[in-house]
């Protein structure tokens, strides 16, 4: 597939937003049940939500660039019964509303008003938000994972990795954010960030290993229905390219693919973890921000690779011109 920048931005940015929200809510829950000493800054939750919303909004905005007819985007909610994309289109704004309400609630001081003992409105909204957040990961992942003939994507690992990457990057951002606004929860977030980053490493590692061993189910033989060991396309039927040659081929060398793979493996996992450690141990909060930025950049590469590596069976039909 040819990776589309809009989709790369969409999936990575909303992942950060989702992860950041999840981090905020986790902190609140842990605080509420007394496992950590919660944030004290009044801006911590509202500002954090604003940042998460900003990521979500920019991601959503980027997605419009993917559309031929963005003015009709609203129609995309119609087919939620069958289409994961449609579901995403519903869940994303719902989730964003929750994040907004959650942040607003904190801003308006709802946590001070318990509905039942120990439970305030933000905790309920946040819980709903977490459910929507998880659903959003599911939708985003399933958009790709449900396409059965894109064998690289057609695995639960796709959903898992979307969740792990989004959470890791959101937690990484949360760590950097906390370092500025609420240093008390830095280590809490850092621990989660490390955990999710390592989990993501396992998840992505697993999908890389899996994909390297995939055997394409479609071949030229099944594509044209001729049973002969040697079939070569001599003409795809047109010479100047078409949608099918532009959308589904990345036109990059395998060497480039290898370097992108190593680049993202380094940028998403060891480097941010090292920067995180250095930041925490060395007491240099700026390094935490760098850790997030490096990991995010790595995620852009990871997402590019995710799309590029997917080998669409339609490509069998578009091999040569003459």
């Amino acid at each position: 597939m040819r990776p589309a920048p809009s989709v790369i931005l969409l999936t990575t940015l909303i992942g950060v937003g989702q992860g950041l929200f999840a981090a905020l809510y986790t902190a609140q829950v842990f605080d509420r049940i007394g496992l950590i000493q919660g944030p004290t800054s009044p801006v911590f939750y509202p500002l954090g939500c604003a940042i998460a919303l900003a990521f979500l909004a920019v991601g959503l905005g980027a997605s419009f660039f993917h559309l031929g007819r963005p003015e009709r985007a609203w129609r995309a909610a119609a087919m939620w019964r069958t289409s994961w994309l449609s579901r995403e289109v519903i869940v994303l704004p719902a989730f964003m509303s929750c994040v907004f309400l959650y942040g607003m609630g904190h801003y308006l001081g709802w946590p001070q008003h318990r509905i039942v003992p120990g439970v305030d409105a933000t905790l309920v909204i946040g819980a709903l938000g977490i459910v929507l957040c998880a659903l959003l990961f599911l939708c985003t992942g399933m958009i790709y994972a449900c396409l059965k003939f894109l064998q690289e994507w057609h695995t639960p690992l796709t959903v898992i990795n979307y969740l792990l990457f989004g959470s890791a990057s959101g937690l990484m951002l949360a760590t950097a954010y906390a370092a500025i606004v609420e240093p008390g929860v830095v280590r809490f977030f850092a621990a989660w960030a490390v955990g999710f980053t390592l989990a993501a490493l396992v998840g992505r590692g697993a999908s890389l290993v899996r994909n390297a061993r995939l055997k394409p189910r479609s071949t030229l033989q099944t594509a044209i229905g001729v049973k002969h060991p040697r079939i070569v396309q001599s003409s795809q039927g047109f010479m100047g390219g078409s949608f099918n040659t532009r959308e589904f081929f990345h036109d990059m060398s395998s060497a480039w693919m290898r370097s992108v793979k190593w680049m993202f493996l380094l940028a998403v996992f060891p480097i941010p973890l090292a920067l995180l450690a250095a930041g925490l141990l060395g007491g240099v909060p700026a390094l935490l921000a760098v850790a997030f930025l490096v990991q995010y950049a790595g995620l852009l590469a990871e997402r590019w690779f995710f799309f590029a590596q997917a080998n669409h069976p339609q490509n069998l039909y578009y091999q040569r011109i003459s």
Binding site: G68, L147, S242, S322
Partner: protein, 243 residues
């Protein structure tokens, strides 16, 4: 339930591209139009086509087959492009099984194209919507056309009649019989999409000439004395056997 489809006979397709441009011609001014062309007179001209003819070489010299292979939307019975569409623009008609795109609903997200293993959907870069073969739905029900012409433009055009059109669910239809009689098959059966369009395979006609066919009583060489009987005096088995 009706399922309209094309049956493409690879045994007679000569790869002339008549179906490619007749399709473009009909549809650019039809209900599925327009079909734009970029760089029409410049470098790497490219445009929207619903149908392409490809060529494959099978085998090695001298046992090479050249296979011309027309390909357009296969109107799958279980079309993977339909459920993924977020707006419902991509749909399969209940009444005849044609898979269509409602241009008024399409947002151009290309997801349906991703969901199609056959590479038969093309986004029109200037209409910004997904386009595809409509089986000339604006011909096949057009009561103003004579009945014999209520067929897709490609079928009308095809000089070798390699494109058959009809209802594959009707066992009595020409297309159903063609599939049954000639071993019609579907593309990429591994994905369970059940394409409605079928392909008829190549088959080879041979003539068997037996040794005895080459010698006959009525051989004209005899008339001109070119296959003479042996002379009476020439040696024979009779001369050397005594019992």
């Amino acid at each position: 339930m009706t399922q309209l489809a094309l049956v493409i006979d690879l045994n007679v397709c000569v790869g002339c591209h008549a179906c490619v441009t007749s399709c473009k011609e009909w549809n650019t001014s039809g209900a599925a139009g327009y079909l734009s062309d970029d760089n029409p007179y410049g470098k790497d001209p490219t445009g929207t086509f619903f149908n392409r003819v490809q060529t494959f070489e099978v085998g090695e010299y001298p046992n090479t087959q050249t296979v011309h292979f027309p390909k357009s939307c296969l109107h799958c019975e279980d079309p993977p492009c339909v459920p993924v569409c977020p707006t419902g623009a991509s749909y399969k008609r209940k009444e005849d099984g044609i898979v269509l795109v409602d241009y008024d609903k399409c947002i151009g997200c290309k997801y349906c194209a991703w969901a199609c293993p056959y590479g038969v959907r093309e986004i029109d870069e200037h209409q910004h919507v997904m386009t595809k073969c409509t089986l000339c739905v604006d011909r096949v029900y057009d009561q103003t056309l004579p009945e014999s012409e209520r067929k897709p433009a490609c079928v009308m055009a095809c000089p070798t009649n390699a494109r058959l059109f009809g209802d594959i669910h009707d066992p009595e239809s020409g297309v159903s019989k063609a599939i049954q009689d000639n071993g019609g098959y579907q593309l990429m059966p591994e994905w369970g999409t059940h394409p409605a369009n079928h392909y008829l395979p190549r088959h080879k006609q041979e003539i068997k000439v037996r040794e005895e066919d080459l010698e006959r009583v009525d051989n004209p060489l005899k008339v001109d004395g070119r296959l003479p009987k042996p002379a009476l005096k020439s040696p024979s088995l009779d001369d050397v056997t005594s019992w």
